[in-house]
């Protein structure tokens, strides 16, 4: 396995975010190639490449584009999901900060392919400089004739609007994102109809993740076979693997899908000096946790699925033996309770109750039945929630109880947490309080 700098390739250049830097490195060759093709051929190339959505679910990108109904003369939209908020996920933000033109070129090619004349980039509102860079990148692209009327003299017109959200994880869910973009509360819609049929303003719409769209120029420029030659048989191409936590060199590692954590950890200099891997998430907090037993699991959709988790967003959050799994899961649960949009009862009430039970375990007031109570709560959420946020909220709870039930029991038996939180921190300090209560409230965002 070797790393494959493709999206990351220009990140170390001087003023990497500028259009001129991107063009000097061959940027916009993909667009020129695409504009010389029939739109249908562009869709076919993306299908042939095997590209699957990089936003978490891994749905084949070309196939999604192919679901749009035939043109009826009305508008069709591309909406880029740049809401990146799944805990652990930190790839799209550096991409847009460092090389926004990669995304813009992808947006233009994709819009051309699906017959869209107004595309939107919905970026979370909590990243000011990223938003500045995107606004400027779009301006530069207009000035260079890549956007606006008559793109590069081809007669094709495209407008791009960069839209800032206002702080809500649920707006990353594609239908909640569309409601939010329409100026409403960001709550998921019933599917079907899927966005391909009735999306933004009830018109045919493609919603794709930033990294998915940014991968398109390379496919068009270098060919579907080039892309498909990377990765595994069913999980093709390159991906950003984001290592965080107790590793020597956390950061972005762009590699073919199918790389293992063992290989990535090796590149990242291993675990924090003198410590051992305890547990990790393969794809963000909504994916069941792994332990050292999965160090050699190829990080592709199929292998991670077969091992009992999900590749998700390749957000590898790595925790060493100093970290209390109950504390970690309790905090993630606070997150889900805080971000639950309140639309459906299993998630709104279930995350709230899970939070209460986890808090009492942490503070030493847990009872012997609490682990089963948590599993029962998860049972009542999984598969019954309106959207995947609720399902995701159960992943850390069920997987951690399965793997670390003794540690939960130790909180009950010892009337509190047996871990010293300062041992997990990167600096020395004396804890002020036993635990820091996190954000309050469920069924809303306050």
């Amino acid at each position: 396995m070797t790393l494959t700098p493709i999206l990351t390739d220009t990140w170390d250049a001087e003023r990497s975010w500028k259009l001129s830097t991107y063009e000097a490195a061959g940027g916009y060759d993909g667009l020129r190639a695409a504009l010389a093709m029939e739109p249908g051929a562009v869709v076919q190339a993306v299908k042939d490449s095997g590209l699957r959505g990089r936003g978490g679910a891994g749905f084949p990108t070309g196939m999604k584009w192919g679901f749009l109904p035939p043109p009826d003369g009305g508008p069709r939209y591309l909406v880029v999901n740049a809401d990146e908020s799944e805990p652990g996920t930190c790839k799209d933000i550096p991409l847009m900060l460092t090389s926004p033109q990669h995304l813009i070129e992808g947006v233009i090619i994709t819009s051309y392919a699906i017959g869209c004349h107004h595309a939107f980039i919905y970026v979370r509102g909590e990243v000011l400089h990223v938003y500045r860079r995107l606004l400027a990148a779009v301006e530069e692209a207009y000035a260079a004739g890549y956007l606006g009327k008559d793109v590069l003299g081809t007669g094709y017109d495209l407008e791009v609007t960069v839209h800032a959200g206002a702080g809500a994880y649920i707006c990353g869910e594609e239908t909640a994102l569309l409601d939010s973009l329409e100026g409403l509360r960001g709550q998921p819609r019933l599917k079907p109809p899927f966005p391909a049929v009735a999306g933004l303003y009830a018109r045919p719409t493609v919603v794709n993740n930033v990294e998915s769209i940014a991968s398109v120029p390379g496919i068009i420029k270098n060919g579907a076979d080039w892309f498909a030659a990377m990765g595994t048989e069913k999980s093709q191409g390159h991906g950003l693997f984001s290592l965080s936590g107790h590793v020597q060199r956390p950061g972005q590692y762009e590699a073919p899908l199918g790389v293992t954590l063992r290989e990535l950890l090796d590149l990242a200099g291993g675990m924090r000096e003198g410590h051992e891997l305890k547990f990790w998430t393969p794809g963000g907090s909504s994916t069941p946790i792994f332990t050292a037993d999965q160090l050699d699991t190829p990080l592709d959709y199929e292998s991670v699925g077969a091992a009992g988790s999900m590749l998700g967003t390749r957000a590898l959050q790595i925790f060493d033996e100093t970290v209390c799994v109950v504390r970690a899961v309790s905090r993630w649960t606070d997150f889900y309770a805080h971000e639950s949009c309140g639309k459906c009862t299993p998630c709104r009430e279930g995350t709230y109750w899970m939070k209460q039970v986890l808090h009492r375990l942490e503070t030493g007031e847990g009872t012997d039945g609490d682990m089963d109570l948590l599993l029962d709560l998860c049972d009542n959420i999984l598969g019954r929630a309106f959207c995947a946020l609720g399902d995701g909220a159960t992943s850390p709870v069920t997987s951690s109880i399965k793997l670390f039930r003794d540690e939960y029991q130790a909180h009950v038996d010892g009337h509190g947490c047996p871990f010293d939180p300062s041992a997990a921190a990167l600096f020395l300090y004396t804890p002020k309080s036993a635990r820091t209560p996190a954000l309050a409230g469920a069924g809303g965002h306050r």
Binding site: T4, R185, A292, G392, F427, A438
Partner: protein, 295 residues
């Protein structure tokens, strides 16, 4: 969904119910109305402009005031209740006058265990305020924030949504002191200095402040993999050299034991490292599209 077409624009002289009429001078009000128009012009349906418009009113008042809600309602031809329903859903819209700087400490799991909890506790003590409270001098509103997509820089603090990476309790209190003293502070990744909450809100409403080319550097984690690739001469495969047939399973491209990059070339990480061969997962097709693991 369609919002009723409404009468907007600088020419719309009909009296408004918002307190802005009395509170803002004519020039400012005209500008605000023109800005609101510029926002709605970006979208096929004006209602899509509500989120940016709420950022815009925060750039005037420093929070979503009652006047601001009425202003949005009037510009969009919807009710104040409809605007409130949206404003209360999103955490970035503040119900009380915000400090000049929002200092947000990430206390989601990864940052929390790496030190975010300690940073928050220290700041709360140091400033004498808790979550979503503002210091008496109006300088700082302290917040716990959720994962801000910078976990590779944990623990992370955001000031007016600019990145302050790899913080400690000492660095965070020093930062807070400088903010309160009115000094310019520079994020670790972002513009040359942090702007005020109101200025930030105007940018989030979609009005560029011309600062996109300012840069305090690309951080080490962002470049971690790229640097290794450069050192070892690793590049993306050659476009021409990719024969159609070779969609090779990763096993064929994995390094042989002993090569750089193979698991043998690193120090043991876990007890299982010292045991022979872990078990690679079986590549079984079980795509679970639509569920879980989303960012």
């Amino acid at each position: 969904m369609t919002a009723d077409p409404m009468v907007v624009g600088p020419g719309a002289a009909k009296p408004t119910r918002t307190g802005y009429d009395k509170r803002l001078d004519q020039g400012t009000l005209a500008q605000l109305i023109a800005d609101a128009q510029a926002i709605t012009d970006r979208y096929p349906d004006p209602r899509s402009g509500l989120l940016p418009m709420l950022h815009l009113v925060q750039s005037v008042d420093g929070y979503v005031s009652r006047d601001g809600i009425l202003f949005c309602a009037e510009r969009l031809g919807i009710t104040a209740a409809e605007v409130s329903a949206v404003a209360t859903f999103y955490t970035q819209y503040k119900r009380h006058p915000n400090g000049k700087y929002t200092v947000g400490v990430c206390t989601n799991t990864l940052c929390a265990v790496m030190g975010g909890d300690a940073i928050f506790d220290e700041l709360a003590d140091h400033l004498g305020v808790g979550h979503d409270e503002t210091t008496d001098d109006g300088a700082i509103t302290l917040e716990r924030v959720e994962c801000n997509a910078a976990c590779d820089y944990a623990p992370v603090v955001m000031v007016n949504w600019e990145f302050f990476d790899n913080q400690t309790p000492a660095s965070a209190t020093a930062l807070a002191d400088r903010l309160r003293a009115g000094e310019d502070v520079a994020p670790t990744r972002g513009a040359a200095s942090v702007c005020s909450f109101k200025q930030m809100s105007r940018v989030l409403a979609g009005f560029s402040d011309g600062r996109a080319d300012e840069d305090t550097g690309t951080g080490d984690p962002t470049l971690a993999g790229l640097r290794i690739a450069r050192e070892r001469g690793w590049t993306a495969p050659d476009a021409a050299a990719a024969p159609a047939e070779e969609a090779a399973p990763v096993a064929q491209t994995a390094p042989k034991t002993g090569e750089a990059g193979s698991s043998a070339a690193r120090k043991p990480t876990t007890p299982s490292d010292t045991q022979p061969e872990g078990k690679p997962g079986t590549p079984e097709a079980k795509p679970d599209a639509g569920k879980g693991g989303q960012s």
